[in-house]
Amino acid sequence: MKLRATLDSGSRQAYRHLEHGFDAAFDAANPWRHLGALAFLFLCLVLATGTYLYVVIDTSVLGVYRSIGDLDRAPRSLGGLMHSLHRYAADAFMLVTLLHLGRELLLGRYKHFRAFSWLTGVPLLGFAFVSGVVGFWLKWDQLAHFSVVASAEWLDALNLFGVPITRNFLSVATVSDRLFSLFIFVHIGAPLLLIFGLWFHLQRLAAADVFPPLTLTLGSCATLLALSLLAPVASAAAADLSLIPAALAMDWFYLWPHLLMYATSAQTLWALAALLAIALFLLPLLPGAALAAAAAVHPEHCNGCRRCVEDCPFAAIVMVPNPKAKTQLAQVLPELCARCGICAGACPAASASRASGFVTGIDMPEAPLATLHRELQRGLERIGERGVVVFGCGQGAATGQLASAEVAAFSLNCVGMLPPSFVDHALRNGAAGVLVAACRPGGCAFRMGDRWTAERLTGVREPKLRTGFEPQRLRLVRADCGEEETVASALAEFRRALEQPAADNKLSTRMASNV
């Protein structure tokens, strides 16, 4: 167990380095942070180009090879480009889908409230494989023949069908137009199932990141277009069922299971596929750390404003009629709740400066805002006028070791749990400045925490900060888990800046660009 944990955190750390490297080049359009959206983009490309191909080519056994050949002979014409784009987008789709799966796996994002997204993702992978493999059959070249026979041998190994399917592919004469229509039916049907499944896949995610940022969209499309122009896809020789070609140009994104089968046996491939499916489906059930208590609504302080509903990243809050008032009341669905506390940060009732004591409409029972409020109060008394308050993220860079005589540091479960009123309160009650350390853009373990925090603090999103203090007294720094150094140096620099006369304008610009 210990070893596994060490390996886990080691590989996560290594992955974060990779992601941070890409941050430097791509900023918010970092492809690693948008893999699901990229998969969707490539799926859209495949659907669009596939529809074009379906309209222009002759989809009969005898016509299809010739008509795709016609496209290939003019690789830079519209038809030729569509053919190449369809293939390359399909390959890219499989690649990023696998990376998307791998990333969720590596970051441990498959349990509890994420089990639904995970479990609905697994069949998508199956549909993607079926779509892709059958796509190769439609070309009816030697590669198609190889893949058809290998697939038929695989299916026959189960002995489900009275008649072995392989017998359909012994000679060209046995392949009928009807059989070919079936291939087309499957090739179009599986993507439709995939889209249907995708709808479920995204059900439990609020504001799902479905479309990559514009620059990433344009960059990815341009890349595939350039590849299609520079290296157009070519078909192999026409299928001749009585010959096996000496070498086949192999597509390693979709067709590798065939090779695995020939290297082992059809039965082995079935066993491996079944094991993989079982493992993927059972993964969310694996024992792990228990979750804390779900967010809890305090009905007497909930005014029915819906802000928690809008900010909850996992659609775990619904509004129900309030039995005691005309307004509505928030209700948490505990099995969907991620325990992030982003809802508490969204609650306008969480006012830190109320004379009658701290209240909030929604809170985390095991780490309530009331406790943070008390500690903040004590911290403010301790650090005095030159002091700085640091609010950090329990999932991001640790901030505990920053505490000193003049620094009060607090770590929230997620920085998104911080109600902006706490920042106001700190600034109005003696702190010289407030430093908020959020994860890097798109790096939130709960999807939205870093983004909502930045938007709340810049006044783009409710609840907003009260204005009336000098903007340079607040700074937002971005640092993921493991980047404690970044926060420490940001703090040191912030404190130096606070010592300077307030007239230093550059600071406020820096603050704006930081956010």
Binding site: R167, L224, A249, M250, F253, Y262
Partner: protein, 165 residues
């Protein structure tokens, strides 16, 4: 700070992505057979003979039956399994008894097997027994074949005999 290094890095990474997709969409090639090999596929789908002779019903028996079911022959539906043997160059390559399909064992027996062999001349002997009531084999075929590299030879059972294509 100039954004140029950023754009260069992006271009490089997009290029690497394109290279990865472009390369592994067709390379490395796969060699199903070595350059000097050929393939023999044994693929048979054949209904074995009925396991029991049909019995002729007597006139009285027929009279007792409902009019729509009166058929002179009373046949059991179960079929013989099909035994298949293949020898290549005098060596036993395959021995199999294929049971008939279907719950009442009234369907076809099927056999599918691939043999990778060296290109060149081979002696093939194929024996089939589709009748459980007789011993030995009621269909046999021996043939000398010369296989070109990459060629697929299909052994089948069609009509009343073993075919090589």
């Amino acid at each position: 700070m100039s954004d140029l290094p950023k754009y260069l890095a992006q271009a490089l990474l997009y290029g690497a992505f394109a290279l990865f997709i472009g390369v592994f969409s067709s390379w490395p090639p796969y060699h199903q057979l070595q350059p000097d090999q050929a393939l023999i596929k044994l693929s048979i789908k054949h209904h074995g003979k009925l396991i029991a002779e049909c019995r002729q019903r007597s006139a009285e028996e027929l009279a007792k039956m409902p009019a729509n079911m009166r058929q002179a022959a009373d046949c059991k539906r179960e079929r013989s399994p099909v035994a298949v043997e293949v020898d290549i160059d005098g060596l036993a390559a395959y021995r199999h008894l294929a049971e008939p399909s279907g719950l009442s064992k009234d369907g076809a027996s099927t056999v599918y097997q691939r043999f990778v062999v060296g290109a060149g001349p081979h002696r093939l002997a194929v024996r089939v027994n589709d009748d459980a009531r007789i011993a030995g084999f009621n269909h046999q075929r021996e043939e000398a074949v010369t296989l070109v590299a990459g060629h697929v030879l299909v052994i089948d059972f069609q009509g009343e005999g073993i075919t090589l294509q």
